[in-house]
Amino acid sequence: MRANQPLVLALPKGRILKDVAPMLAQVGIAPEPAFDDPDARQLRFKTNIQGLSIIRVRSFDVATFVAFGAAHLGVAGNDVLMEFDYAELYAPVDLNIGHCHIAVAEPRDMVGRDDPSQWSHIRVATKYPEITKRHFAARGVQAECIKLNGAMELAPTLGLCRRIVDLVSSGATLRENGLVEVEKIADITSCLIVNRAALKTRPAEIQPWIQKFQEVADAA
């Protein structure tokens, strides 16, 4: 056996990170102080555990790092998993955090004025072109997606397109922009994800982490 190579845990920046932090403490991972400093430029952090480091990347990139084996474990929303559908990812634990849902929304004054059963083609602004296309294709509608990385709610107001597909948690942002949710696509929660080859070749190191996260998620 080769000397132990370090394990890398990839965590998403932003919203979900706040919810993950207490879970890290519960499974016994304490990142170095710079991790909690939002201004730190550092991207990779040591932890109290020898041979385990943490990287902090954008939520979509967590899935990419883990799928390609650059990170071995990660935390990602199932919105990201649905969008990419990487065959090399396992999602063994529902961490039960970061709850929201992904939905179709349109301007309030449009609601009730058109009949979705007559659509053959619609144009949608979204961060999730694959989920959107699949959702509409399932009922025979071709969705032309305009890929945006944020501020989706602006698109209908400024005439970029009339509908958006986005994450909704309280619905406040939609309301403030004069939009109404018309259709829910899926519920979103965050999962612990694991690289397939890493789990197969290093089960003795990775399985215990899966178990610990499972216990913490069950207890919450």
Binding site: M1, R2, Q5, A67, F68, G69, L81, Y86, A87, E88, L89, Y90, A91, P92, V93, D94, T189, C191, V194, N195, A197, K200, T201, R202, P203, A204, Q207
Partner: protein, 375 residues
């Protein structure tokens, strides 16, 4: 520019790949597997017959201008070997052991392996359903990889027919089974628990994944219907045999893995090497021709190459212009590479370096360039 997923093999990598293929084939030969070489292109109806229909979507087609029939470029050599075994070699005694190596072409690469053309090397063992056949194939894969320089090999043993068997026993329909398999493939415990029938059973199966001893312990405690229990018996026998034959190989079990085993009819496996992303080969049981039980594996050379140490640079001797041909012939007879200077050079040492040589011929012998004092 070349099309996506296609590339030129350059020195020293091209020679390195050929060397690895030679070593793999030598290992296969030592177990009694005889080499066959099917053509690159075949008529579509024979190339994609039977179980091979599962790779129809990955196959490039072209029209044969002579016969005016559609042909396909092979996307996987396994089916060609099975065709040869069950037609031209149908009368040879069983079990029949065949080996092969060659290029395959696929319409699409995967995210992890964008290559559309790569080399496959493998074996097929046709006409035996015994657990000893499964064990021989797994041990051979491991020993061939080891001889080629791959260390820390692990084998994940899968039972792609177990879930369909259990679904039949529980009268779960095809469409529900489809979504169940998707959830199992992802190891998504939450989605598995949400199924109405068999949720507890399949959740338990998910727990039966991991190192062989632990997984078998969980499986043995489970109350399985007859067919599934028979698969479990075969599995534990194969694990025992492989552990005896190749104790250094790490064995993990994953009874629910299904992706990539669309045509398999029994015990199958995936090969991994520590630190290499993705799988380096896979194999398992299938039906050759109409009814012959067969098993085999194929290794993906692009991935195997990521798992072996880089090529060792061979000794390459520069012969300054004017060295006698007999001296050069002497070096070449000893198996060394001797590169002749075609024109007189101002500085022979520089010229040797420029041509990628490691040594230079001085005063009747090859001197390492680092130690060369000039002439």
């Amino acid at each position: 520019m070349l099309p996506d997923g296609l590339r030129d093999g350059l020195p020293p990598d091209a020679a390195h790949e050929a060397e690895i293929v030679t070593r793999l084939l030598a290992s296969f030969a030592r177990y009694g597997y005889a080499r066959v070489a099917p053509p690159l292109v075949e008529f579509e109806d024979t190339l994609l017959d039977g179980a091979a229909a599962t790779i129809a979507n990955a196959t490039f087609r072209l029209m044969d201008p002579v016969s005016q029939r559609m042909m396909g470029v092979r996307a996987d050599m396994t089916f060609q070997i099975a065709r040869i075994a069950t037609t031209r070699l149908a009368k040879l005694p069983r079990p029949l052991r065949l080996a092969y190596a060659g290029q395959v072409l696929r319409v699409r690469g995967s995210q992890l392996r964008p290559e559309r053309e790569f080399r496959q090397a493998g074996v097929e063992l046709i006409g035996s359903a015994a657990p000893t056949a499964d064990a021989e194939i797994i041990s051979l894969a491991a020993s061939a990889l080891r001889n080629a320089g791959v260390s820390d090999i692990s084998v994940d043993i899968n039972l792609p027919t177990l879930v369909p068997n259990l679904c039949r026993a529980l009268s779960i329909g095809d469409s529900e089974m489809g979504s169940l398999r998707a959830a199992l493939d992802r190891k998504d415990a939450v989605a598995v628990a949400s199924f109405e029938r068999g949720a507890a059973l399949f959740a338990r199966l998910l727990e039966a994944t991991g190192p062989a001893a632990d997984a078998l312990a969980v499986l043995n405690e489970m109350d399985l219907p007859e067919e599934a229990a028979a698969e479990r018996t075969q599995l534990s026998e194969v694990v025992r045999l492989v552990q005896t034959d190749s104790p250094e190989v790490m064995i993990t079990i994953d009874p629910v893995e299904h992706r990539g085993f669309e045509y398999h009819s029994g015990l199958s496996f995936t090969l991994f090497a520590r630190g290499v992303r993705g799988e380096i080969g896979r194999g398992g049981r299938y039906i050759a021709g109409d009814a012959e039980s067969a098993t085999g594996f194929s290794l993906f050379l692009d991935s195997v190459l990521r798992a072996v140490p880089g090529p060792e640079l061979p000794m390459r001797v520069f012969l300054p212009h004017g060295v006698k041909p007999q001296a050069a012939a002497g070096l070449r007879e000893k198996g060394l590479i001797a590169v002749a200077g075609l024109m007189p050079a101002d500085d022979d040492t520089l010229e040797a370096r420029r041509l990628g040589c490691t040594h230079i011929y001085r005063g009747g012998r090859a001197v390492a360039l680092d130690e060369d004092q000039g002439s």
